[in-house]
Each structure stands twice: as structure tokens, then as C-alpha cells.
Symmetry: C2
Subunit: 418 residues, 2 copies
């Protein structure tokens, strides 16, 4: 992509109404546009990052047998009255209104009710179980405070997986082994170090649920954890304090603010009972289906990565989620050899399937180009200038490197394995 | 994918509350689930078809320089008051309501206002033009009547492209050449024969707009057209009647109901004027940006394909949009050789990258499997039975073939080029 044609320009100043680093840097870098508090548009750079994250999640969900669907945003009141959540969610986060004919409608803040209803048509026998259904879909939540950029959105992209099982044993295996492993792979691919944190189960389970927490001062959670054995508890259930002995490894308990990037949640038979989801077991008896739900905040993940990976100059994308792999900067020159060199390298990189953003802008100084490159945070920066062309080399720098290297194009291709 | 594990079972009976063929067949086939009139969930089979269609559209949009973004559903009232469309759309199709804090919000039914506002940050000079921005995103429209399945939805998936130009000449070239060609490719790839139909321009252009119409009794439009030279006009602007001479080729004018699968629309400077989108021209003067908008109903396209491609037994997917390429049916047998043969073929097909749905269900008769296969409409049907295994052959039939062929696996691979 040529940067002269890229939709979404960088801004010199931080947006005035943002406090969080992710919102400031993503808006300044031209990744997102703020329509309202907690409601962001994704411009081409941001859209590319989001697609990368979705790809990572989709791969792991498919690998554990997940089937992708897409459920609706518009929701009829009647469906949510069966679980008493029309009133409960309506008082908190669910947008609810009447359509032109007077019918009461809500915007889906989560999808347990719709999927359980849909499953009535697919689950009849123990032979139909287990089932793992997921989607990546926009959720709407009327959050009181939405001031952490992509960390807490009113319109947010989520991956929500739901599982259906014949019994607790089958559920627990999927929950503690299959999903937990897949989640850890997802976060690792995104470059994030997570603490699997015990948390409260809400009103219908006495067991703990589990949150995937990333240590960050931008977080709204507070966890107590042991960096040795990775034991962690959310403040809401924890009786530990800083300096206590870890109950598992006798290490020292620490505390930190953190961002919840995912959670896994036993649903028991709450929804199957309310909506009548039963199956015939091997002996012909009728049993309620045991369920679990498993969320990952996709847009929140994007915000979290920026919170963890940035410095005073801008974002530092981990390669797997970067909008482009290479940022090719052509510096202004009266010699046509510079442009020719840059154009040829751009085409060669594209031909090798490398995602490259080519800063071909003729009205920007070298300083402006360097500043934009640091802000946008693409992993590899290449500079083509009169000096490099003369030496038949290119100037290469990774985003966090202090110095630059002058190497041949062939050596750079080797470095990035193309 | 093994059919025994597929989420979304086929139904023997038509859903009672549907009248259109696309809704009946897609719901019976397990592609969609009806949450409300005009509001459908996409189950795994339907989700796959939708992704295929999105892939076709995305390829053509990228090929003409389109940059993909994702704009928000939640929209602030103030933005839409600048173009007086808060009231205009609010009376018709826009869902509008107050959030918990009393702020007035609408659900986006289209995205001219948001994108024009966002473009204020990116378009300053003639050097920033032209720009082509698109998204594939859910739109919300409170349609009075929503009884044609996916043809007219309240929650619908659309591809909307917007173009920004320095003048009418540049706009017209993009409109009449670039987009028109890309749209024809999209519809051709989906197996649809479209008439580019002149239609009324609405309140702000005296020129015609152009609709891409597919002849179908399920359509809500009526067009007058010439099958010889492809001249076509929407009834709303046409002065022709059946049997008239075509004004272009002297052929005979015919008439048909039709489905509008896409449209292209000159916006002139309506939105740039209302929202202040100006650029500096070569001489330093200020000009309003000329715009166009270009829609394709993605979910409507799925419904239209079913309207065009079905028979009394079910759907007949064109290969490019089929949820799977091959439907592999294993018929019940006490001989393990049948299952072994089927499993091996299933694995070989997967290894060759062929998308295959493997009907491994042990509780279905041959008749039920054949009926489901005709209903779901996957292009290639393969049957493995005691008879075929004995002859070391497989039974192959394309969805519309009358008879079957017994051929070797190697010959089948050749047939599908793998």
C-alpha cells in the first residue's frame, strides 16, 4: 500500500478528549476514529490489525472443533424474558427501544439466550453432543463510563464461544483443558503474557470462573498474583495481600492493575433450564444440557496490545498483529535513482507476498516520515535515501533498535525469510 | 466437516411463517434461523456461503483500489442533523432511541454522514483524491414489510463503497467504467445475470442512478428491458410498455419482476457541502469534494442466488458460493469396508484442500441422505455404498444431473482438478 493513498492521516497532537494511551496512539496513528465515547470506527490500518487478531482467534477456535456462526444484534424482548435478563440487563447495559410498530427490541450485549434457543432445533440426543459454537460479532453495551479507548467500548467486537455438553465431566474437560490451552495460544500469538485468574462466579455458580488478565496500569481490574507459579486471584474474591506467601509455591504475592482480555465461564444448566434445552441420554431419559461460555474481547485485545507495546514515540506492534510487516520510507531526493530503487524494492516485496506500507509521500520531510513510522509502529523500517542508494544498500531498523544497519536487499530478504 | 457434528439440522417441513423460496429453503436446509421477521441468524452452512460471497466482493473492491474499513452502528443524532437525515430517515427506516444517559442515538442504516465526517481528517488537497473506501457491515432498517427472507431484511449485511473525487469528470469515469465493471464481475462470479437498470436519482440529482437487477418473480421491483441489447429501465421512470420497440436496438421491450442486488449512485456535493468537506485545488482555490456511493446487498445476494438456483427438491449452489464443494454420502452398511472407504476418501479430499461435507450419520436412511443432499445443494454428490466399494468405484452426480456415474477416485480427482 502506498502511504500517499492511505485513508487515515497521522495527527501531530493527542486527541483532547482521550486519556488512555491506546486511544491516543491509535487515533493519532490513523488506526481509529472516535464517533462517540466507547464507539470507534476502524480505518484501514486499524481494520488490518483487527483482521490479524481475528485470524489468530479463528484458527484456534477451529482447531478445537468450533463452528463459526453469526447471530443477530436485534433481539426480541420475549426471548430474554424467559431468563429474566430483559429486566436485569436492561437496567444495566442493554440498549432497549421500540421499533416503528411499537415492538420492544434490545441490542444483543451477549448471546446465551439466542444460541440456546437456536440449539433447540439441533440438540435432541446425546449423539448431538458435545457442540462448540462461536462467532466474532459486534456487541452493544451501554457502559456508564467508557473512557479507556478500546479497553471498554459501548460498541465492541467480541469472540464468544458457547459449549454444550451431556454432563459436568465432559464440560470440565473442555473448560480446563481444551479452551484453556487454546486461549493461552491466542494470547501468546498476540504477544501478551496472561495470568489465568480465579474470579467470582456470579449468581448461578458457586465455583470460580477464570479470567485471562494482562498486567497493565491501564486496567480496571486488580489482581493478586504470584509471578513464580502463576497463581492469581481477582481482588473481588481474594483474601491475600501484598507480601503474603503464595498458597501454592510459597513465593511472594504481588498485586497489579490488569486488563481482562478473556474469560471462561461455567453456565451449568441455567439457560438450558430456562429455555427447555434437554436431550435424551443413552437410556432414553431426559437431561438438561450443561453449558459453558468463553469470551475474548477482540477490539479490547487490540487496545491491550497497544497499552503493553508502546513507548513515548508510538506503538510497537508484535509482528503477528502488525498492520504491515515492513514500512518502506523513501526520502526526498532530486535524483530519480532514489525513487527508482524504492519502487523496485516495493514491487519485489509485494511479489514475495510481504505486506509493506510504502511511504512515497513527496511533501513530507525525513523527520516527519521517521516520526510517523515510530508512531504507526510497523516492525521493520527500511529507509531509501541518496546515501543508501549510492552504497547499493538499504538502511534497516527494527522498531525498538537503537541504531540502524546498512545491508544489501538480499540480506534483508534472508532476515525476513522470503 | 462431518455432518453428524454439524450445527443446524435440516427440517422436513417448510417453516410456517415464510412465503419466499429463499427463506423456506435456507431455513429448512439449516443455513439460517429466523429470530424475527427480516432478522436472521447465520448457522455454519449459511455463514460459509456468506463468507464466500464476501470474498468475491472483497477481491473486486481491492482490485479497483478500495480500502476496507469498519464504521460504527451507533450514531449520534447531531451528525445526522447536519444533513437533515435524522428526521427524514427516522420517520422511515432508522431505529432511534435514547441511551441510559438520555442521549439520542440511531442505528446506521447507511454511512454517508459518518464517512464524510471521517474524511474531513484525510482530505485536504487535490493530492488526497481520489479515494475509494468500503466496508462490509451490518445495516439496520426498520422496514415496514419484511417477508421476503433475505431479500428484504431489517438487519442485513451490506457492502457499501464510497468514492471521493475532485470533479464530475473523475467521478464519472470511476462510476461508469471502474465500478460498473467490478460489479458485473461480482455478479457473474455469483452466477447471476444482471440488467444494469436506469432508475430515479432521488431528491438531489437529476441524472439517473443505476440498479443491478436480477429477473425473478420473488423481486419487489418491476423493470422494462430488452434482452437483445440489455437496455433496462425501472418502472418508476420508464415510459415503455411490453411490446414497444427498444430505443437502442429496435428489439422488443419485455417486462419482469426483479431483485435489486446492487446500485450505484451519484451523490454530487450533497454530503460534502452539508459537512464541509472541501479540498484545495491546484491553484489554491477551495472546492467541495464530489462523491458517489455504491452498494451491494451481501445477504440479499445470498437470498437472490437461492431464488434463481433452486428446484422443488432444494437449493442448487453455483460452485463459487457453495458452502462445500463436495457432499460425500456414506450409506449404511454392516461391512466395515464401506466406512473405511468413505473415511479414506474424506481424508484424501481434505488433504487436497477440497471443502467436503461428509454425511457420516449412522441413523439416517439412504433416502433421507439423498433428500438432505438435494436440499442443501452442494455441487458434487459422491455416494459410497456396498455396491460402489465392491466395484472399487464411487458414485458421482452433480446436483442437476439426472443420472449417476460410477467412476474411480482418480478420475473424480481429475474431474475437479485436484
Amino acid at each position: 500500500m502506498k502511504q500517499s493513498q492511505l485513508f487515515g492521516k497521522t495527527l501531530r497532537e493527542d486527541p483532547k478528549d482521550e486519556v488512555s494511551a491506546n486511544a491516543k496512539l491509535l487515533e493519532r496513528g490513523g488506526f481509529i476514529y472516535k464517533t462517540m465515547a466507547g464507539v470507534y470506527d476502524y480505518l484501514p490500518l486499524g481494520w488490518r490489525v483487527l483482521e490479524k487478531i481475528k485470524g489468530i482467534i479463528r484458527e484456534e477456535m477451529n482447531a478445537i472443533g468450533g463452528q463459526e456462526v453469526s447471530m443477530t444484534t436485534l433481539q426480541p424482548k420475549e426471548r430474554w424474558e424467559k431468563t429474566a435478563r430483559w429486566k436485569e440487563l436492561g437496567e444495566e447495559v442493554m440498549y432497549q427501544f421500540k421499533d416503528h410498530s411499537g415492538r420492544e427490541i434490545g441490542l444483543a450485549a451477549t448471546h446465551e439466550e439466542p444460541l440456546t434457543e437456536i440449539a433447540l432445533r439441533s440438540i435432541h440426543s446425546y449423539k448431538d453432543l458435545p457442540l462448540f459454537i462461536y462467532q466474532m460479532q459486534t456487541k452493544f453495551r451501554d457502559e456508564l463510563r467508557a473512557k479507556s479507548g478500546l479497553i471498554r467500548g459501548r460498541e465492541l467486537l467480541m469472540k464468544d464461544l458457547y459449549s454444550f455438553h451431556k454432563d459436568e465431566k465432559d464440560f470440565k474437560h473442555f473448560y480446563f483443558n481444551t479452551v484453556d490451552k487454546a486461549y493461552k495460544k491466542v494470547f501468546q500469538s498476540c504477544g501478551l503474557d496472561v495470568y489465568v485468574t480465579e474470579a467470582a462466579g456470579g449468581s448461578f455458580t458457586k465455583e470460580h470462573t477464570h479470567e485471562y488478565q494482562v498486567l497493565s496500569e491501564a486496567g480496571e481490574d486488580l489482581i493478586f498474583y504470584c509471578s513464580g507459579c502463576r497463581f492469581a486471584q481477582n481482588k473481588e474474591i481474594s483474601s491475600f495481600k501484598i507480601g503474603d506467601k503464595c498458597p501454592k509455591c510459597k513465593g511472594e504475592i504481588q498485586s497489579s492493575k490488569s486488563i481482562e482480555v478473556g474469560n471462561i465461564f461455567p453456565l451449568g444448566i441455567k439457560y438450558s433450564k430456562s429455555l427447555g434445552l434437554v436431550y435424551s441420554d443413552e437410556k432414553g431419559g431426559k437431561e438438561f444440557v450443561t453449558m459453558g461460555s468463553y469470551g475474548i474481547g477482540v477490539s479490547r485485545l487490540m487496545g491491550t496490545i497497544v497499552e503493553v507495546y508502546h513507548d513515548e514515540m508510538g506503538i510497537i506492534w508484535p509482528e503477528a498483529v502488525a498492520p504491515f510487516k515492513v514500512h518502506l520510507l523513501e526520502l526526498k531526493s532530486s535524483e530519480s535513482a532514489v525513487k527508482n530503487f524504492a519502487v523496485k524494492l516495493y514491487k519485489d516485496l509485494l511479489a514475495k507476498g510481504v505486506e509493506v506500507l510504502y511511504d512515497d509521500r513527496s511533501d513530507k520531510t525525513a523527520g516527519e516520515k521517521f516520526a510517523d513510522s515510530d508512531l504507526v509502529g510497523i516492525p521493520w523500517r527500511i529507509v531509501i535515501s541518496e546515501k543508501t542508494v549510492e552504497k547499493k544498500r538499504i538502511e534497516v531498523k527494527k522498531r525498538l533498535d537503537k541504531g540502524v544497519k546498512l545491508i544489501s536487499v538480499a540480506d534483508f530478504f534472508k532476515k525476513i525469510n522470503v
